[in-house]
Amino acid sequence: MSQAQTNKTRKTRSVFARLTSGIRRPAKIHDFHGGIHPPEMKHLSNGTPITAGPLPQQLILPLNMHIGAPAKPLVAPGDKVLKGQMIAEPIGAVSAAIHAPTSGTVSAIGPRPIQHPSGMDAVCIVIDTDGEDQWIEHQGTIDYTEKSPAELVDLIRHAGIAGMGGAGFPTSIKVNLGDHQRVEQLIINAVECEPYITADDRLMRERAEQIITGIHILQYLLNPRRTLIGIEDNKPEAISAIKRACKGCDIEVRVVPTKYPSGGEKQLIQLLTGKEVASGQLPAQVGVVCQNVGTAYAIKRAVCDGEPLISRVTTLTGDGVSQPGNYEVLLGTPVRDLLAHGNLAGLDIGRLVMGGPMMGFTLHNPGVPVVKTTNCIIAASPEELPEPPPEQPCIRCGSCAEVCPANLLPQQLYWHAKNDDLEKAQHHNLMDCIECGACAYVCPSHIPLVQYYRYAKAEVRQQAADQVKADKARQRFEARQARIEQEQAEKEARRQARLEANRKKKEAGPTAASTVDVAALKQASLDASKAYKAAVKAAKAAEAEGADNLAELKAEADRLKAVADKAKAAVRDAKDGAPVAAAPAEDTVAKLKKQVGDASSAYKAAVKVAKAAEAEGADNVAELKAEADQLKAAADALKAELREAKTNAPASAAPVTQADPVAELKKQVGDASSAYKAAVKTAKQADEDGADNAADLRAEADRLKAVADQLKADLRDAKANAPASPAPVAPTASTAAAAEQPDPVAALKKQVGDASLAYKAAVKAAKQADEDGAGNAADLHSEAGRLKAIADQLKVELRDAKAAAPPTPKAAPATTATTDSPAVPEEQAPQSLAEVDPEQAAKRQKRLKGLKTAYNMAHKQYKEAHAAYERAERNETASADELQAMQGKIDKLKAKADNARDALDALVEEAKADIRAHTGKDLKTLKLEAARAESALADKQQELEQQRSSASEDTLEALSSELQALESETQIARKALKQAVEEQGLAE
């Protein structure tokens, strides 16, 4: 380096640095724990100057000589290349370029054995050299301070410079810290603590000036407060050469005592600064940047001379070569050629080590090339580096812990690693082991400790990687699923909305609801809510993992929810419209049924999955359960809807069916009891098999029995009523009565269908149980639930039918209208409403109240008396006579309560009949009408909202007028309902 340059450099150093450099007290050298003093063996190779290495026939250049992403080839086989020509460019942030070390022809790009400890192959660019060693045109920078740091960083990156000390970390990254990171100390690592290696030693002795220039460039890039060079005290010539070279500048030479591994980055930082780099952090985080001397030299060559990194000084040593020494070797030179160059001593080479004896690795193949990190090749006879003696048991002597520079307990690490107890090994800070080999070096039992640690570390990393991979995959999958469902649901909803709009426009009224629409809409709604759920789940999973796209996922979930809600509203709307429409409502019911079936089987599947997950101890059980619950809720909602639809259906489909309710009920009872029997059989079988769902099965059987009993009771009631109800009708044979009569019959007809459905389900469950033996408890469980729901519904309907049947004849004469078809006389309604006698209504209201109280009182008394009786019986406190008396009293009370209830019922029915008489509709219809009108309104509003941005003026206008119409309709319906209810004193 020229004097001018040095001066220039000096001028650029900060005034502060120059001021402080003079007044610094003598540097303290700290110490680190442990360390060893293996035989140095440096004398073998440090006596002779660096000479040029061989120019082999072929150079093999691996694409990943550095840490990070492999470089990307810029040449193809057959290309001619010149010395210094870039043949592979860096890809990504952590990468380095590769240049042709000499001129020649690219003969191949493909896998070759490389410098990897596992002896694996990797992609290399193979150059057949032409012997001319012809440089590409290149130019250095005379004054690097004219370039910006960013330019220099780029230059370094494209010169392919990577840490030459051993790891091979791309230098461009280490010198490009950004402004926020203040570099306290720039440490130049010239320790070279490993035995045998003398490459840096010779480099410093011979090229100190150039190294110092390289350091100045580093200073220029990093602007450190101090720059320290650490050299071991076993290299006195190198120390004096460097001291001479940096005389007068602010670089401090620090001599550290010889001890392995003081050249370890963390150890050197501790030695020179007393700082410790926190576990898992980088030196930069404590304000330190470390660079190897060889790297500094390479930087100088690249910046000042324009020569990319194409060669390096490598120590060739060991008793296997007769001319050990240091050679300036072209990168890519096969070790075989280097050995030949160093004159194989003719000895049997036992081990070929790349790197030092402590941390280097053995080569299985001498064809492996020298790379950027190859500081040493040891060709050792078996005598010099004998085969490791057999491993003996660890005697816990603690020698290893004494020498560990990381202050670990290697014996404990070994113990845990050997037992594959990775958790405990990590607890003993396995990951802080720097693999220096000091522990294994001193171990009297010759345990290859480092090997165990490498293995354990690899396992730990593998596990972590697997975890990350699995999580990522799951997230991706779920997100994709949610997206697909969302897209489908949205599409469907859009289609439905379009259809709906068209339909409404066309028909200008809700009179003709299409059942197909209801089904389709329902499907759309289901899809939408499914998509929503998936999205919620994905969001939850993401939250658990702290993923950063959480907000996004949540927003998506919200959007989906909106879609689902919309779809649901549409369905509700359509459904409400359906019963009143002339189209066959039963179709709707069937569709709904199917949907209920779908929903409940989805629920079942979910329950099953949740159970399986629980059994496996999977940790998403809670999630799955929540999902199952959601599904259940959905299924329940659907069931409720179904029930509603079914109760509506009879009203509209009334005239279709004509059947004997008693016969139907009989059949129903028969079905139910055979379902019960089948269930009992299944339960018994399960009991015998010791299946664990036996309890479930038995419970189901009990439930079925209850259903059957209920049905039987109903049958009895129906039988009792049957003669009574046709009797008053038959003589008059009024058309009105005939028109009204089919209502309960139709309902019962429906119930028959339900009962047989229940029966079939029970049989199916039984069969399934037979086949599977066990594990389908969940299925049976929900099936039973369904049966129960149906039974409940049956009860409700039947009671309605029963209640409606007797008062009809009474009501019939009361009404003067003969054309009493349920869906007709709309225009009559307001009229008749006006005619209601307010006095009568008030009276009835009062009577209703009184009767209610009477019934409540009587019922309570009866209950109390009954309890007292039972108590007395149980405790045997009363005599037989007393008991008898009590029994009598109870009976009386019961009769009283029953009477009150009957009176009450009669009154309510009377009121209902009145409403019907006045409005031409029963209460339920009124209620329904109001609800439908309201939801139609809501839907229209939504539609309008949606269309506002996209639709044309005309559409909007049409929509708003429609909206207005609907609004008034709703109001009328609401008012009618309210009036009817209030007038008849049925507010509750």
Partner: protein
């Protein structure tokens, strides 16, 4: 070129476990010499016989386990166990006593646990305690110091031809116990004063302990052991002794007497330092040894046995894993050391 592939490091110390163990054996020689000088050939015979028993038991067991006999015998661990037990036994011990103790130590306390490195207890001390409990009389019959028996006499004792009763005498620790428990009986105390006053500790035993101390220092100088265990041991024994003695010099023996009587030095440098059964970190070892020392002092001063090295060591062997958990060193780059199991 057939190349060895191996993992780093590619060089190791020439040293090996066998060499380690041999150093320990060499270091016991001064102690053995002084024992012989003070009590005659009994100890030498004991040690040799113990070594034979140990090697044979180990070989038999290795054979039964299908192991390479020569390879494992060469680690010398069995010999060390035998030598230490042989030294700890009274020089009057008959052959069968040693046979039982050593074979039990090797087979039960070591091999049944999985061999070298796996035994949680110090095998020599397990053997010793077994004998002490089973044959308390034979185990406490020491000879009067300074009156060594001839080789023939020792041999006859060993073979059982010579009854031990006429020859045996109390050790200083025994005597101190007697004196201590009958502190008012001045006549008795005076009669026994002699044995309590050697040059600087109990008669004769001060030299035995000094010799083991020398051997121990040699081990430290050769880096076979670190100073932590001996120092902890001696401090744990010496400090309470000093304190108690300052408070009540009549009832409690002075610290020098404690440190140079019985098995103190043998225990501190050779027995407590058995790495396999000791705590493993440096702090751990210090604590471990300190507790052994304290325990010895407590048992010597208040317990039912005159000496207590074996009991104390075994007790702390039991606690070693626990101590290890709580004394992990602070790893480089960590703010504090890890505690607990995980």
């Amino acid at each position: 070129m057939s190349l060895i592939t191996s993992t780093s490091p590619h060089a190791t110390v020439k040293n090996n476990t066998g060499a380690f163990m041999r150093q320990v054996i060499y270091a016991t020689l001064p102690g053995l010499a002084v024992l012989t000088w003070q009590f005659g050939w009994g100890s030498v015979i004991n040690v040799l016989w113990a070594v034979i028993v140990a090697l044979v038991s180990e070989a038999l067991f290795l054979k039964a386990r299908g192991r390479n006999i020569a390879f494992y015998l060469k680690d010398y661990s069995a010999v060390v166990t035998a030598v230490l037990l042989g030294l700890a036994l009274p020089p009057t011990a008959p052959w069968w006593l040693t046979l039982i103790g050593v074979s039990f130590a090797i087979i039960v306390a070591k091999q049944l646990y999985g061999g070298l490195g796996m035994n949680p207890f110090n095998p020599a001390m397990v053997g010793y305690v077994l004998l002490l409990i089973s044959f308390p009389v034979a185990m406490t019959q020491w000879l009067a110091p300074g009156e060594p028996l001839s080789f023939v006499q020792s041999w006859q004792l060993f073979t059982g031809q010579l009854p031990v009763d006429g020859l045996s005498g109390a050790t200083p620790l025994d005597t101190f116990r007697t004196v201590q428990s009958s502190a008012t009986d001045t006549a008795n105390a005076l009669a026994n004063q002699g044995i309590l006053h050697g040059q600087f500790a109990g008669l004769g035993w001060e030299w035995v302990n000094l010799a083991f101390l020398l051997g121990g220092l040699y081990l430290i100088s050769r880096k076979i052991i670190t100073w932590h265990i001996p120092v902890g041991f001696l401090a744990g024994l010496g400090l309470p002794a000093l304190l108690a003695w300052l408070i009540d010099p009549v009832r409690f023996a002075d610290p020098l007497f404690q440190l140079f009587s019985g098995g103190a030095m043998l225990g501190a440098f050779f027995i407590a330092t058995d790495p396999v059964s000791a705590a493993t970190s440096r702090t751990g070892r210090l604590i471990y040894a300190l507790l052994i020392g304290v325990l010895i002092w407590v048992i010597r001063s208040f317990g039912g046995y005159p000496d207590a090295v074996a009991f104390s060591v075994l007790l702390l062997n039991l606690s070693a894993p626990f101590i290890d958990y709580y004394t992990q060193p602070r790893t480089y780059g960590h703010k504090s050391s890890n505690r607990g199991v995980s």
